[in-house]
Amino acid sequence: MQRTMMDFWVGLFVMAGIGALLFLGLKAGNLTDFQADKSYVLIGDFENIGGLKVRAPVKSAGVTVGRVTDIQFSTQTYDAVVTMKVDTRYQFPKDTFASILTSGLLGEQYIGLLPGGDDEMLEDGEKVMKTNSAIVLEEMIGRFLFDKASEKKDSDPEL
């Protein structure tokens, strides 16, 4: 079959298109980031998850060790049940503390794992017993205003 200059340009065009997709995946996206190929599942019950979303990172010492894969509401405990996939390379003791943290003032929310000192490690599908809920700004402001009001009331008995 005869090859023409047009075939060359089309080939170049297809290569450039695939190159652009690779650029987006590798440079702009998180294709090289955490891949949960070999991972185990951990579950955590939180009183309040704030703005935590599926796909949010699970970090320990600032390193991404996993991702949130599912968030459900339990009708038995009235808590949020968060399922996380953690890379098998990273094992955590049974008394690990899981907290919902925020990166920066306006950043995304993620789960921070703080390892304890237990000899036994958490296993696949196991529940993280020690959890700490997200800080909800409205609740904090409300509590602050309430404390201020009660302080004022104590110092001024006429009120």
Partner: protein, 265 residues
């Protein structure tokens, strides 16, 4: 007065019935194109030729537009985000806007104006000069020989053009914010990488552009094939291709976005 109102209602009714009729004809035509596509794949050079005319020839406008859109996004994003002291998040803003929305949508609008209108004009002119009728006389099916390769050429080209548009946009945003303004390059890329997910954002953007490719080329080939065989008819069909495609892209974008990104951060 009553006669005028009656005429107006009749006119609206006539237009609605005409639109439904036309939609049915278009659906039947596209089904026919799909059924007669196998010969095009057996003679892939026909499709390669159309990828050249629809894709390669649209490259310049796509790349230049992508670069400028990215540059403007970078500039506007920086202006807004610096008020909150989060100028390093400009990379996230540029990349997410491009891969999720602007890349597929603007590339498709440009594709409709550049390649879609050319497709309609070419097929319409072939009809007006009776080339399609002559093919029929020689027992060559014009849908299999002329329409199907153009349809598939456009469908293959669109996602590649959209990816290149997004890539140029990200580079344009980098150029303005990092090179010209002086935002930290490390923060620019790392914030972008932590926010842009390959599967959700980039692949969904590609899926969107595939849908747009199908819609734009389907409208273009139908309008061309259905054009009245006169100079006025061809020009009207070309205009209709751009208008209908643009509206279809924007409408479809809303529906696809609602399906794809609902419930995702």
């Amino acid at each position: 007065m009553a006669r005028r109102i009656r005429a107006a209602i009749e006119s609206i009714g006539h237009r609605v019935i005409e639109s439904i009729w036309r939609l049915g004809t278009a659906a039947r035509f596209i089904l026919l194109v799909l059924l007669k596509s196998i010969p095009s794949f057996l003679r892939f050079r026909l499709i390669t030729r159309e990828i050249y005319y629809a894709g390669v020839m649209s490259l310049i406008i796509i790349l230049v537009s992508g670069l400028f859109v990215g540059m403007v996004l970078g500039l506007q994003g920086y202006e807004t985000l610096q008020k909150f002291g989060s100028e390093s998040a400009v990379g996230t803003l540029v990349a997410l806007s491009l891969v999720r929305e602007l890349g597929p949508v603007v590339a498709a609008l440009l594709f409709a104006s550049r390649a879609g209108s050319a497709m309609t004009a070419e097929i319409g002119l072939m009809k007006a000069t009776e080339q399609l009728a002559a093919m029929g006389m020689m027992a060559v099916d014009p849908i299999a020989r002329i329409v199907a390769p153009r349809f598939w050429g456009g469908v293959f080209s669109m996602p590649l053009l959209a990816a290149m548009f997004s890539m140029m946009g990200v580079l344009g945003g980098y150029l303005v914010t990092v090179v010209f303004i002086g935002v930290d390059a490390g923060s620019f890329w790392s914030q972008m990488q932590s926010a842009v997910d390959f599967r959700y954002d980039i692949i969904n953007g590609v899926i969107k552009s595939c849908f747009f490719g199908v819609v734009v080329t389907a409208i273009a080939v139908f309008e061309g094939f259905d054009a009245p065989p006169t100079a006025e008819g061809v020009s009207g069909a070309t205009t209709r291709t751009v208008v209908t495609s643009s509206l279809a892209i924007l409408g479809l974008d809303f529906v696809l976005t609602a399906f794809m990104f609902r419930g995702v951060s």
